[in-house]
């Protein structure tokens, strides 16, 4: 049997009688613990305002993810009535749940985030998904990841994972393989085709560019109820993900899996559709799109301004990658020098090896520790016979018969970058060295291709779109920008976060709200004090199995082979659970509550268990002046109230069946 709620959204006046009666009955003091919360939504421009509320107690879900993640097994679902109860004696008792010291911050326990989550640009619930993986709840883990992450397959492979840099497991031995765990669940949970999300907003949004920023914005906007159309000039969606990241790191079918999901929820992607950045924007706005988001990325490869840079045998890194991905033949010699120290440079080098180059060098300005490319990438590149040369500047490309005959480099010191990313350094005298190569690939960064951009959208000195760094609005009303086209080249996860922020402000704009919001409380993950228990057992990080080098060089097969289940569980178990409150993080409704007190223990709605015994309904039901709430056996409620829908309004979970049925308010 399952007890649960009925909520008639059209009757709720937002009066909070339920919430206060609940506090009175359960003697919950004023403060952050609110067993019954009433979420408020205001939509539409003045005077066409639409207001709705959603009663948000614990919904006593079928899949109790809160119970699955609890390290103390303090949460259980009662067989006899389906009520999810918490044993507050057990909560945070045997196993610690949260080892962060909140000192020096004004954050409540439930607001504190682990260093990994703070450093993740999209604030993924890393400890909670790790806990679900550790318990073998892979489907639930993926569900949790998807609540914030539009491209889990991609970010399970090519993320720069700043989270791992901050993971405090490194103070025990090594950081948790957070990215690989994400990749594991998305690879191992059978792909499901989600339902198309309903359009509940009158507006449509046009997104120009189908890279990570555009798709992330689209994913959030479609979940807010907007219609979303993404325009992609190329033949495949994904932007740089599809054109510039080599197959051995991100196979196209993996990217397609993420994009299929986004299309299934309702994002319309129009490939081979170039939007003219002048009149074309007018056309989109005139065609009824309320907002145009420019998320074109920065895809134009740059070459160094040195002599010989235009010789036959010189290539721009991104174009080189694009040619490979699109199946074009590339004019690659035997001996290749890649100039640059980022992931694109390493991608070029490793791709060059796979295409048959015998000798591949990489030369970059940065010293080894400061190379922007991922360590594992550099390591794998070296395994594949690529030579990395650091702290070098390339001064000219040598010529022989109009072709590349080598590159002259010097050692440098005192490298610094200014605010526009321009380097300065001193050349060390008498350190000239010539790389004997026939091909040079420049992988020194990309700029946006903004040809034909409408004059009323301003650009920055570095060739990006100038937009308000806080609200993402361009100089032209109704046009927003996000991702690399605005910020210059960044990482995939940064672009995703940028797209999500743009979606947030696009929503405010379309709702006629003031764009600016209160600045978020930010905390430097390095400032978080984590008190690691002395008795933590050393357990080395699971190594990602990789393809043998000889197999790698003969194809573009994916190098990383993925964790086995046992490896994933073992790895996930290494998470220290720095911040705690996993139950709250895992719950799509944030129902678990913590009071603001020393060692706060979880509390939440228990459906007024003791009142049922007296034949009474929960106090919130009895208290509701407009009779908007009811409670009972879910199946009986369905019979009693007829045509009702389930409460998906605030629920982005796809697998958790909440025990509430809702009569939604009509717009």
């Amino acid at each position: 049997m399952q007890l649960g709620f009925y909520f008639d959204q059209s009757r709720c006046t937002g009066c909070f009688a339920c919430a206060i009666a609940c506090k009175d009955w359960h003697d919950v003091p004023a403060g952050p613990a609110r067993w019954m919360r009433l979420l408020y939504q205001e939509e539409g421009k003045f005077p066409k305002v639409f207001v709705s509320h959603m009663a948000t107690p614990c919904y006593h879900c079928t899949e109790t993810v809160c119970a699955y993640v609890c390290p103390n097994e303090a949460i259980t679902k009662r067989y006899e009535d389906g009520i999810v109860v918490v044993d507050r004696e057990k909560c945070r008792e045997e196993k610690t749940c949260g080892i962060i010291s909140g000192e020096g911050t004004d954050l409540l326990y439930a607001e504190q985030e682990a260093p990994c989550q703070v450093s993740c640009p999209v604030h993924l619930h890393i400890p909670a998904y790790s806990a679900l993986i550790a318990k073998g709840r892979f489907k639930e883990a993926l569900d949790l990841i998807r609540r914030r992450m539009p491209l889990p397959s991609v970010c399970g492979r090519v993320c720069l994972h700043p989270c791992e840099t901050e993971c405090r497991r490194k103070d025990v031995e090594e950081p948790v393989a957070i990215m690989d765990l994400k990749g594991f669940v998305v690879d191992n949970v059978p792909q499901e085709i989600p339902d198309r999300l309903p359009q509940t907003q009158p507006d449509s949004v046009a997104i120009v560019g189908s890279g990570p920023a555009g798709l992330a914005a689209g994913y959030d906007l479609i979940r807010m109820g907007y219609a979303v159309t993404v325009f992609e000039s190329g033949p495949v969606a994904g932007g740089m993900l599809s054109t510039a990241i080599p197959e051995h790191r991100l196979p196209r079918e993996v990217l397609k899996r993420d994009i299929d999901y986004l299309e299934a929820v309702g994002i319309e992607i129009r490939i081979n559709t170039r939007v003219d950045l002048g009149r074309g924007l007018d056309d989109l706005l005139n065609k009824g799109y309320g907002v145009v988001l420019l998320a074109l990325g920065a895809s134009k490869g740059e070459k160094l301004d040195i002599s010989g840079a235009d010789l036959k045998g010189t290539l721009a890194g991104v174009s080189f990658m694009q040619d490979i991905k699109s199946g074009k033949t590339t004019e690659l010699g035997e001996k290749v020098l890649v100039i640059g120290g980022g992931n694109v440079a390493i991608d070029c080098a490793r791709s060059a090896r796979r295409l048959g180059a015998n000798t591949v060098h990489v030369a970059c300005l940065e010293c080894r520790e400061d190379m922007p490319a991922e360590d594992s990438e550099i390591k794998q590149a070296e395994e594949e016979g690529i030579e990395i040369h650091c702290s070098l500047t390339s001064s000219r490309v040598l010529e022989n018969n109009g072709k590349v005959a080598g590159v002259e480099c010097q050692e440098i010191e005192g490298l610094q970058f200014d605010e526009n990313g321009q380097p300065s350094f001193e050349v060390v005298k008498d350190t000239g060295h010539v790389f004997d190569v026939d091909t040079v690939i420049f992988a020194i960064g990309q700029v946006p291709d903004l040809s034909g951009l409408s004059g009323d959208i301003k650009t920055s000195p570095t060739g990006t779109i100038a937009a308000d760094s806080e609200t993402f609005v361009t100089a032209r009303r109704g046009i927003f920008s996000a991702g690399d086209v605005m910020n210059g080249p960044t990482s995939v996860v940064d672009a995703i976060a940028s797209g999500q922020k743009a979606a947030f402000f696009i929503n405010r704009h379309l709702q006629g709200d003031v764009l600016q919001v209160q600045p978020e409380k930010t905390i430097d993950p390095k400032d978080i004090t984590v008190d690691i228990p002395a008795d933590v057992e050393k357990r080395p990080r699971q190594l990602m199995p990789t393809l043998p080098v000889n197999e790698r060089l003969s194809s573009f097969k994916e190098v990383a082979l993925g964790f086995s289940e046992a490896e994933a569980i073992k790895e996930a178990e290494r998470c220290l659970n720095c911040a705690g409150h996993l139950c709250k993080d895992a719950c799509p409704y944030s129902s678990p509550q913590f009071a603001d007190e020393e060692k706060a223990r979880m509390q939440k709605c228990d459906l007024c268990i003791e009142r049922w015994a007296d034949g009474k309904k929960p106090i919130c039901v009895e208290a509701c002046p407009p009779h908007a709430l009811d409670a009972g056996i879910i199946d009986e409620l369905k019979v009693k109230y007829g045509e009702v829908t389930e409460a998906h309004n605030f629920n982005y979970s796809r697998i958790i069946q909440p025990s509430i049925i809702t009569k939604p308010k009509q717009r």
Partner: protein, 738 residues
């Protein structure tokens, strides 16, 4: 403790009580008491759930109000400067002796007229300040205030048109309507009868269209209304005149009804179609004033006039304006023109919406005594001439100016002492900063309340008062029932608290009035029940009533205001000089004052209107509606309430954005009278050009005189309309980021 002693296994009792706030509800509360302490509250458990009288969030938070750590538990005397809040505990004896000595001194030095007395707050039969007023009358008298802050415009309007204040229908009659127009009415917030919301929702569910008109998209509108018509504050009468214009021009009015039951429609028509002043009150004319598109006004007029029956619900808030009474008078004219008065599903308008069953206005009290200082004044019975009412009294929204200027300023007395029996006047009357000066100018002040209110901080003696959990009392609903209540005492009094009645008796005793009180609480309550015709009719047994607590009156059919007058006009004339509904009032014509015209009119506020030059400096109109989570200033700082609805200023993005104001920013709101600090709530639920701050938050000035408590009355003015409405919503302000 006498109550329904439902002793439970754990030693818990359930005491049946009700709220007694000055609010629009009166709600049964089942108070759980264990070991003399209230542990939790349940609401009405009437078997028919649909007819349960469910308490609102305010009643639900009752426990944290009664046991609030700031409760005043002992008499105290002031030891610091007025306003600093420095007090020390004294005995009741010392407090009362000081008061009596000051009363005698003031009386001897200045005469009884120098004593101002005002009450408010507790809504019951016995434990009100009636005994105190009587004791002061026996002492030789006092000067009082006239009018009430909330509803005076509406009262004046219904007295003019109907000669009767019972202008409501039973709330279930809403279901008989075919169209409901909530014009300035937000029953979700101000409750308007405990049963109002549920009946309105049932009406909505039954498919009855509901339209809301007002500057704010109120909670009621958001829940109920299919259509929201935002309107500029203070211009309702203009839009109503245009509605009348369309109805007249298109001949949609009910001429037979007007002929039979009303007088003076022709005069109103002359005003509306422009014969009187050469201005046709067309929708286009109104649009320029009220901001509602002309087409929308015309559509509304046609829909209202052609849908029968239709229920136009005006209220009291829009009437708290410079010419607020004209809004209620225009509404009455409209419902008369459409023949909706006295009919099921219709409405009489007039804003008071009360029904004469179990109504609070008809509560008993201890027998009073005529105030000697008012002897020999003009006869004011039934007069519409406000000036006559203010010969011997101060207008309640003008006491501060009166205290400061006295007889030299044309006021009835030179006040030297004030006794406030609750009411928190400093906070709840216009122009709080002037009030501070006024209170500082007095020689002696007594304040009695449950808390040390902002008014109390200026008093010389403060007296602690019991909450309704600490006494037995007869309570009644306002404005709709029909039911009668007995609120049982749940707990022993906290500290040394007394009720207002007990304080009155104590004063009488100290003044040497022997035999002032000859009954116990229980004897008085029994007497009231025995002697009041309504209790006589409905209550058979006092003790049963006491244990039942809430006694529902079974009416044969929903109450319809003026049904008798409409069905049988010959035998049931209206209580007006003409015996009819007075759209034109000869009594007003006789006053010959263009500001109280004999027919309802839109009159432009002469000051603080958005078209006034002052608007260049203070471009925003300010609303000060009744709060959601307080009852006026009662329930301030009840933590459970504050956290669900913090005190904020509503501001439209169109006004916030150019001022750089973000949601949640602290802002200053100011004009020439004062400045307050508050958080901004940026919302599309308010018309641009208008900001709104709920009244009642407690005045708490900092060293620079900026009110950190967000008391809206530091911005409002101490003025009143020609009909006597406190003009608290005709106010201009500016706001900036703090």
């Amino acid at each position: 403790m006498s109550a329904e002693d439902n002793s439970q296994a754990n030693g818990e009792q359930i005491v049946l009580s009700t709220s007694a706030f000055d609010c629009g509800g009166r709600c049964p509360l089942r108070v759980h008491v264990k070991d003399g302490v209230i542990t939790r509250i349940e609401g009405d458990d009437y078997a028919d759930e649909d007819k349960q009288l469910r308490a609102c969030w305010r009643g639900r938070a009752y426990r944290h109000w009664i046991y609030h750590p700031d409760r005043l538990l002992y008499p105290m005397k002031r030891i610091g400067e007025r306003g600093t809040g420095q007090f020390e505990r004294v005995t009741w004896n010392e407090a009362m002796d000081t008061i009596v000595s000051e009363l005698n001194r003031i009386k001897e030095t200045y005469g009884n007229g120098a004593i101002y007395y005002g009450g408010g707050g507790h809504m019951g039969a016995l434990h009100t300040a009636g005994a105190l007023a009587k004791a002061l009358a026996m002492f030789g008298g006092y000067t009082a205030g006239y009018g009430n802050i909330s509803s005076e415009g509406a009262v004046w309007a219904v007295q003019t048109s109907y000669g009767d204040v019972m202008v409501g229908h039973s709330r279930e009659d809403l279901l008989n309507s075919k169209l409901i127009i909530m014009w300035g009415w937000d029953p979700v917030r101000m409750v308007s009868g405990t049963d109002a919301i549920n009946n309105l929702i049932k009406a909505k569910d039954a498919g009855i269209p509901i339209i809301s008109i007002g500057p704010r998209y109120e909670d009621s509108a958001a829940t109920l209304a299919a259509e929201w018509i935002p309107i500029i504050p203070g211009t309702d009468a203009a839009m109503m005149a245009a509605v009348a214009y369309v109805i007249v021009r298109e001949n949609l009015h009910d001429q037979a009804f007007l002929d039979k039951y009303t007088v003076g429609f022709d005069k109103f028509k002359e005003y509306v179609i422009g014969i009187e002043d050469g201005v046709e009150k067309t929708p286009a004319w109104a649009e320029a004033i009220c901001g509602v598109p002309a087409q929308r006004i015309a559509d509304l007029a046609r829909r209202y006039a052609t849908t029968k029956p239709a229920c136009l619900m005006d209220c009291q808030g829009p009437a708290r304006a410079a010419f607020g009474e004209q809004y209620n008078r225009c509404a009455i004219a409209l419902t008369a023109m459409t023949g909706n008065i006295g009919k099921p599903g219709g409405s009489a308008c007039g804003g008071l919406m009360g029904i004469p069953y179990g109504h609070m206005f008809r509560a008993m009290g201890i027998p009073g005594m005529r105030n000697p200082t008012e002897a020999g004044g003009p006869s004011i019975r039934g007069t519409l001439d406000l000036n006559l009412r203010l010969v011997r009294r101060f207008h309640v929204n003008r006491i501060w100016d009166g205290f400061l200027k006295g007889t030299a300023g044309g006021y009835p007395a030179d006040i030297k002492m004030a006794w406030f029996a609750g009411g928190n006047a400093l906070n709840q009357r216009g122009n709080t900063n002037k009030g501070v000066q006024a209170l500082k100018s007095l020689e002696f002040i007594v304040n009695q309340d449950l808390f040390l209110t902002p008014t109390g901080r200026y008093a010389d003696i403060v007296l602690p008062v019991k909450s309704f959990a600490e006494k037995n009392e007869l309570t009644r609903p306002w404005p709709s029932g029909p039911y009668l209540c007995y609120s049982n005492q749940a707990i022993e009094p906290l500290g040394e608290c007394k009720t207002d009645w007990e304080i009155g008796c104590l004063l009488a005793e100290k003044l040497g009035f022997k035999d002032f009180n000859d009954k116990t609480e229980d004897e008085w309550l029994r007497t009231f029940v025995a002697e009041n015709p309504e209790y006589q009719r409905y209550i058979e047994d006092y003790d049963e009533f006491k244990s039942e607590s809430t006694h529902r009156l079974q009416l044969d059919e929903p109450y319809i205001a003026f049904k008798a007058q409409i069905e049988d006009p010959e035998n049931n004339p209206f209580n007006t000089p003409s015996g009819k509904i007075e759209i034109f009032s000869q009594r007003l014509a006789d006053l010959n004052n263009p500001l109280t015209p004999p027919v309802p009119k839109y009159i432009i506020a002469e000051r603080e209107d958005r078209n006034h030059p002052l608007a260049k400096r203070y471009p925003l109109q300010l609303l000060s509606p009744h709060p959601r989570v307080r009852v006026h200033s009662t329930l301030q700082n009840v933590d459970w309430l504050v956290e669900v609805d913090p005190h904020v200023m509503w501001i439209n993005p169109a006004d916030a954005e150019p001022r750089g104001i973000r949601d949640g920013d602290e802002v200053y709101v100011f004009n020439d009278r004062g400045k307050l600090a508050i958080k901004a709530w940026v919302t599309r639920r308010i018309i641009p050009g208008v900001v709104s701050i709920y009244e009642g938050s407690w005045y708490n000035p900092d060293e620079e005189g900026i009110d950190r408590g967000g008391c809206v009355n530091v911005l409002t003015d101490d003025t009143y309309s020609p009909g006597g409405a406190a003009a608290l919503k005709t106010v201009l302000v500016e706001t900036t980021k703090a």
